[in-house]
């Protein structure tokens, strides 16, 4: 038997091993695992309670509640033309446990509901009409409702009562709650991200979009310092929220976008964190965090055209994405 003592051969072994290691840890090919049918004619916002395995989908028919593992319908919460749905996170130490309350927007109102019995517990009218979105500020324990018609409303997540309300320029894109009272709003038509402040009810400023155009998808890392902005022209910009500076631009899919952020989205030993971007053209893009200042496209996966909102399930590491399939609203379960 010939022993390898040659440095060149050793180098080849090392290189092959490095290539395998790099490709093994990096690549998770997402694909459609199953599809859940929804009632009504449209599907918009989506949220999942990983603990109770309940999936909440906003649509023209109200909030539909599904079993996240089977797709079986568990019930519904009446709300005409529901736009968005949010579950108030509950923490037990560092562990997130089952949510007890949720909020949804639709028909110019915000409603509160209980997860256990799906009963409406609050109903507040928004000052302006138009599509509206929700985000949760963990610092103030408030739900922020942004209406594309031009208003920002803060609601006490416990009581469901309006704390503050302000009229100001918003946008029709996705929103995200940050730290220090910030609410980020993608203004698709103005081509900026507004930085609103729910403490003051005023706009703190705008983040310009660099080479992207028509920002519609938006998500924030849960530390509040990296804002992922997906534009309809296929550019994903990552903004450092301390300075409002776009420090990375990546290539995404095309069309209206929605996003979600997750730490270790494939479990330990894989990606540190990622923003998942679902876009109208059917592209699911995984923006992978290599380091807190370094991001690359970890993968791009063609699902079905017409992708809508997206939610991440921390139990199964699956993604739940609303979509239209043969003119019927569905939830696509994507995994690897």
């Amino acid at each position: 038997m010939r022993r390898v003592t040659n440095g060149k051969a050793l180098w080849i072994y090392t290189a092959v091993f490095a290539w395998l290691a790099a490709h093994n840890t990096g690549a998770q090919t997402y694909k459609s695992l199953s599809e859940y049918k929804l009632p009504g004619a449209s599907a918009r916002g989506i949220a999942i309670d990983s603990e109770s395995r309940h999936l909440f989908v906003a649509g023209d028919d109200g909030i539909t509640v599904l079993n996240a593992d089977t797709g079986d319908k568990l019930g519904s919460i009446p709300l005409k033309e529901a736009q968005d749905v949010l579950l108030v996170p509950v923490m037990h130490g560092d562990e997130q446990v089952a949510s007890a309350k949720g909020y949804a927007t639709g028909n110019g109102s915000v409603i509160g509901f209980t997860l256990a019995d799906m009963k409406t517990t609050a109903n507040e009218k928004l000052p302006t009409t138009g599509p509206s979105s929700l985000c949760y500020d963990d610092d103030t324990k408030a739900v922020e409702a942004v209406s594309a018609g031009g208003s920002l409303v803060s609601i006490d997540s416990e009581s469901g009562k309006v704390i503050r309300s302000a009229r100001l320029t918003t946008g029709s894109g996705q929103i995200a709650c940050g730290t220090l009272g910030h609410v980020y709003v993608a203004d698709t038509s103005a081509n900026v991200v507004h930085v609103l402040n729910h403490d003051t009810g005023k706009k703190d400023g705008d983040y310009p979009i660099m080479t992207g155009s028509k920002p519609s998808g938006l998500t924030l890392d849960t530390k509040g310092r990296r804002l992922f902005v997906a534009c309809e022209n296929g550019v994903i910009e990552i903004i450092d929220t301390d300075s409002g500076f776009t420090f990375i631009e990546l290539k995404g899919g095309e069309g209206a976008a929605r996003e979600t952020f997750a730490w270790t989205p494939q479990g330990k030993g894989q990606w540190k964190a990622a923003s998942f971007v679902a876009q109208q053209d059917g592209t699911l893009t995984g923006v992978r965090m290599n380091a807190f200042i370094n991001y690359t496209v970890g993968g791009q996966y063609k699902l079905t055209p017409g992708l809508g909102s997206i939610a991440y399930d921390s139990k199964t590491h699956h993604l739940f994405i609303t979509a239209m399939h043969a003119r019927t609203p569905v939830v696509i379960v994507a995994g690897y």
Binding site: N197, G244, F245, F247
Partner: protein
């Protein structure tokens, strides 16, 4: 077919075109053109070809400039220099091969703004030696230092480019976004104005400028304004900037100014250069007399001294002739003698040791005739024969006596309109003092063959001097060792008068 190969012809064309530029007299190089006047200015950007695996920011820069109303034309590295004709500014990108562009823009009468660091020597903006005169840093090869480059330092807030950024004092700032970045720096000639330095090295310039008429490396005189900037191929999009609520925080607004610095540097390059008055000692004396009339001048000297008394008397007489109301004070008298005065002139007959730190804090301008006092007055650091020293003093200097100075800042009013190069300053070779001021000083003259020995220089009011001491008013030094005043040549007298005039003039003029 006739091909123009001679860059001289090209520059003749360009010079003719430049004649139509509005020419203003702006002694401090302040921006004279409004934004509306800058719009439509023509910029030629010389860049290399984009490579598939090595993206660069050239087109992004072009787009950025066009958004500000400039008309940008792209040029190739092997274009004939003729192409500069009709342009208002030439940009040399680091993507252009410096071995191809070489020195073809060195003679350009059109201002040049370059981030082609390796081409700096060919542009005569630095010496030739990599790692000594200039350096490019790679974020992989030089990982740790590449992080250091994220922190720039404004040594001189009185610089017209820095003034535009409303930086209140000498301080650090973020050059590029928080990742190790490619970077270029240089050690320019004494006449350069260092806008930004890095790594705690005063002479490691990340951004520097030469005024038209400034003496660059090897005695080459800048035919138009020149700017060196720290960018590299693909770092423009990392130039710091801020948006949103961060804009309202003054500390952050003064920190993330990389893009604003780039824009301000472009505007400075596009503005008309300083147009010095021509050399005319009589006219200069008249101008000084007009400015001096009725001004109270404190002349600090060593009274009743066996040496230099006659020379000091003649200085006092000259100042009185000009129209100053001169009060003479002995070196031993307290510095409250300056109360109520308009300007102080400190003679070289004074003993540095006996003078102590007097007049350092005076809120009025000071002209010091003794280079050795540069440290006590905070005009230089404290290493003798490094930060200050002398030529020709027996037993104290290994340098021989000298009669000449080299004018390196001919554009500056303190140069009295003298041309760049050697000028006979005193009739016979004798003692000449020098100092090494901080980068915030403007250097007018050096001692011949002694790059770092600066004979005439000045600090603008507000400039950070040694130990970050902020100049309370203008400060200047010109070497008039005793009894040299009586030995000054005609040019020497003109330089003396020009130094007095600049010192008493309003800041910014």
């Amino acid at each position: 077919m006739f091909t123009v190969r001679n860059s001289g012809i090209a520059y003749l064309f360009a010079a003719l075109c430049l004649c139509v530029l509005p020419y203003v007299r702006a002694q401090d190089g302040g921006h004279e053109l409004k934004d509306s006047q800058l719009r439509g200015k023509k910029i030629l950007m010389i860049a290399g070809e984009a490579e598939k695996d090595h993206p660069n920011d050239d087109l992004l820069i072009k787009k950025h400039l066009e958004q500000q109303g400039y008309v940008v034309t792209m040029g190739a590295e092997d274009d004939e220099a003729l192409k500069v004709a009709g342009q208002d500014l030439v940009l040399l990108s680091s993507t252009a091969d410096p071995r191809v562009i070489r020195d073809r823009y060195a003679d350009s009468p059109v201002p040049v703004f370059t981030w082609n660091t390796v081409d700096y020597p060919e542009m005569k903006m630095t010496g030739p030696e990599r790692h000594t005169d200039f350096e490019t840093l790679d974020p992989v090869q030089d990982y740790a230092r590449a992080f250091t480059m994220l922190y720039g330092y404004f040594p001189n807030v009185t610089n017209p480019i820095v003034r535009e950024l409303s930086i209140p004092r000498s301080q650090m700032f973020g050059t590029l976004y928080l990742q190790p970045q490619a970077f270029g720096w240089a050690k320019p000639a004494p006449s350069a104005n260092i806008v930004v330095n890095i790594e705690g090295e005063p002479t490691h310039a990340a951004v520097f400028t030469y005024e038209k008429g400034a003496t660059m490396y090897g005695g080459f005189v800048a035919p138009a304004r020149r700017v060196g900037f720290y960018l590299q191929d693909a770092t423009f999009h990392y130039l710091t900037d801020l948006h949103g609520d961060a804009e309202a925080d003054p500390n952050l607004a003064q920190w993330w100014v990389g893009l604003k610095l780039f824009d301000a540097s472009i505007r400075w390059a596009l503005n008309p250069p300083i147009a010095p008055d021509p050399y005319n000692p009589a006219a200069l004396k008249s101008k000084l007399a007009a400015a001096a009339k009725g001004k109270k001048l404190l002349f600090v000297r060593r009274l009743n001294t066996p040496e230099g008394e006659e020379s000091d008397d003649h200085i006092a007489e000259h100042l009185k002739d000009l129209g100053f109301i001169v009060t003479e004070a002995d070196q031993s008298q307290p510095d409250t003698m300056a109360d109520g005065q308009d300007v102080i002139v400190i003679s070289a007959t004074n003993s540095k040791y006996k003078m102590s730190n007097k007049y350092r804090d005076a809120k009025i301008p000071i002209l010091c005739l003794e280079g050795l006092m540069a440290d006590t007055l905070k005009m230089a650091d404290r290493h003798r024969y490094v930060d200050y020293g002398e030529h020709g003093e027996a037993k104290e200097s290994e340098d021989p006596p000298e009669a000449y100075l080299e004018i390196v800042g001919s554009y500056h009013p303190m140069a009295a309109g003298l041309k760049p190069g050697y000028v006979k300053y005193i009739k016979e070779a004798d003692v000449l003092k020098w100092a090494m001021p901080l980068p915030s000083a403007t250097v007018i003259a050096t001692l011949p063959n002694s790059f770092h020995e600066r004979a005439i220089f000045g600090y603008e009011k507000g400039a950070a001097m040694a130990d970050e001491y902020v100049a309370p008013a203008r400060r200047a030094i010109i070497p008039v060792d005793n009894p040299a005043f009586d030995d000054l040549t005609e040019q020497g007298h003109a330089l003396f008068d020009a130094a007095v005039l600049w010192t008493i003039s309003e800041s910014g003029k």
